[in-house]
């Protein structure tokens, strides 16, 4: 395995770990899939469409998101937003992420 391949795989694993948190963080207000993808990409977290759209459905099935079809300035779109359970989970995951981030900052700062 070349260094580039190893980097690609390891970076993918890092990104997989944060995809759910990043997605939940942008659904405090209702958004449809494409809009959400653009919002994430604009803030430096591009997620492939083939990963993001199924993820929204899975999170909804897990009872973390609510969704509904709406027609606003264009074709019908399915809007997703956090429900009460989703907000609780987002809060917990955010705390956990901040703890890990602080630890990693300390660890990487030792170099």
């Amino acid at each position: 395995m070349t260094d580039l391949e190893a980097f690609g795989k390891l970076e993918l694993e890092l990104r997989r770990g944060v995809v759910v948190l990043a997605t939940l963080s942008q659904l405090r207000a209702p958004r449809y899939g494409y809009e959400l993808r653009q919002a994430l990409a604009e803030q430096g977290m591009p997620i492939e469409e083939g990963t993001l759209y199924p993820l929204l459905r899975r999170l909804e099935t897990q009872g973390l998101l609510n969704s509904e079809w709406k027609i606003e300035d264009g074709p019908p779109r399915r809007y997703y937003a956090l429900n009460a359970d989703g907000r609780k989970l987002l809060k917990k995951l955010t705390e956990s992420w901040r703890g890990m981030n602080d630890a990693m900052t300390r660890l990487l700062g030792e170099d």
Binding site: E49, P54, R57, P75
Partner: protein
């Protein structure tokens, strides 16, 4: 095929793999999302959406099978932790089955009119193809074990092995000693069993088939019986110590190997019983026992762990 047809084909290929209750809703949403993505790409490229652009976009989106799979929770049949064990058990099992089938094939006389090609064909259909029950059974077993671990995680929690404790108890080891003594007694005079069973009124042929060959009784039998009886002081030492110490384990290993060598010698050096049927049966039993013992030692040696650093170029 225009861009719309390409998108429609892709959406259908994804949706058809989803549960029926999700299918149409997901297809509608997916088509709309792909349409918006394509429209943005076309605006960035400064040209209208066409089939090659749609193809490129959808290939980046992912294979329909992969995308459809992401809509559902991951289904793991074999726990990744069991992957290597599954492959190892599958390969070893298949090699044993195929090898046994090959041995049986080679033992059969070549019938007139059946060439070697036909014999290989028989081996392929009767042994190789039929052996697929083995990976199937393993798959069911590993999947069941994986499900049990997920369902009852506490039952799968790691526990230390008993190590060199006596299996069972001291009483069980005493029973083992009695078993060895009885076994050796029967081996010394197997006709005693017939006397016990039939009260001394069995047919002479029954005594005949259980009569040892003179050469075996004079030379090989004393060695074999002595080695078997050496297990008695070994087990007594285990009872006294209360566990298998490393020295006792080494003695057991040496004694086991010596017994295996004696059994092979008994098989190769001539008849054991004067009647061919019991002779063959006894020899087959001895060879199976030897093979199983050697296999067990091989597995034990292979599984042995002696923690030590792997030093490149030695120390210093």
């Amino acid at each position: 095929m225009d861009a719309n047809e390409v998108v429609e084909c892709y959406v259908t290929d994804v949706a058809v793999q989803l549960p029926r209750r999700l299918r149409n809703d997901v297809a509608f949403e997916l088509r709309a999302l792909i349409g918006e993505g394509l429209q943005d790409r076309a605006e960035a490229a400064g040209r209208p959406v066409d089939a090659p652009m749609a193809m490129e976009f959808l290939q980046a989106f992912g294979r329909p099978e992969d995308v459809a799979a992401r809509y559902r929770p991951t289904l793991t049949l074999i726990d990744p932790a069991d992957g290597h064990a599954f492959v190892r058990a599958t390969v070893i099992g298949l090699l044993v089955i195929w090898g046994a089938g090959l041995l049986l094939l080679l033992q059969q006389p070549v019938e007139a009119g059946i060439g070697s090609l036909s014999a290989w064909g028989q081996w392929w259909t009767r042994t190789v193809v039929a052996s697929l029950w083995w990976p199937g059974m393993l798959l069911a077993g590993f999947a069941g074990s994986s499900w049990l671990r997920m369902r009852f995680p506490q039952s799968a929690a790691w526990k230390p092995r008993p190590g060199d404790r006596i299996y069972g108890s001291r009483a069980a080891t005493v029973l083992g000693i009695i078993g060895i003594l009885c076994g050796v007694y029967v081996l010394i005079e197997p006709r005693w069993v017939i006397d016990v069973l039939f009260g001394g009124r069995a047919a002479p042929a029954a005594y005949h088939v259980l009569t040892y060959a003179e050469t075996f009784q004079q030379r090989r039998a004393p060695v074999l019986y002595s080695l078997l009886l050496l297990n008695v002081p070994l087990l007594v030492a285990v009872i006294v110590k209360g566990r298998w110490t490393p020295t006792l384990r080494r003695l057991e290993f040496v004694l086991g190997l010596a017994t295996c060598a004696a059994m092979v010698w008994c098989v190769l050096a001539g008849p054991i019983f004067i009647a061919p049927i019991t002779d063959q049966f006894m020899k087959f039993g001895m060879l199976v026992l030897t093979a199983l013992t050697v296999l067990q030692y091989g597995i034990t040696m292979r599984r042995r762990v002696k923690p030590a650093p792997k030093l490149e170029g030695g120390i210093g």
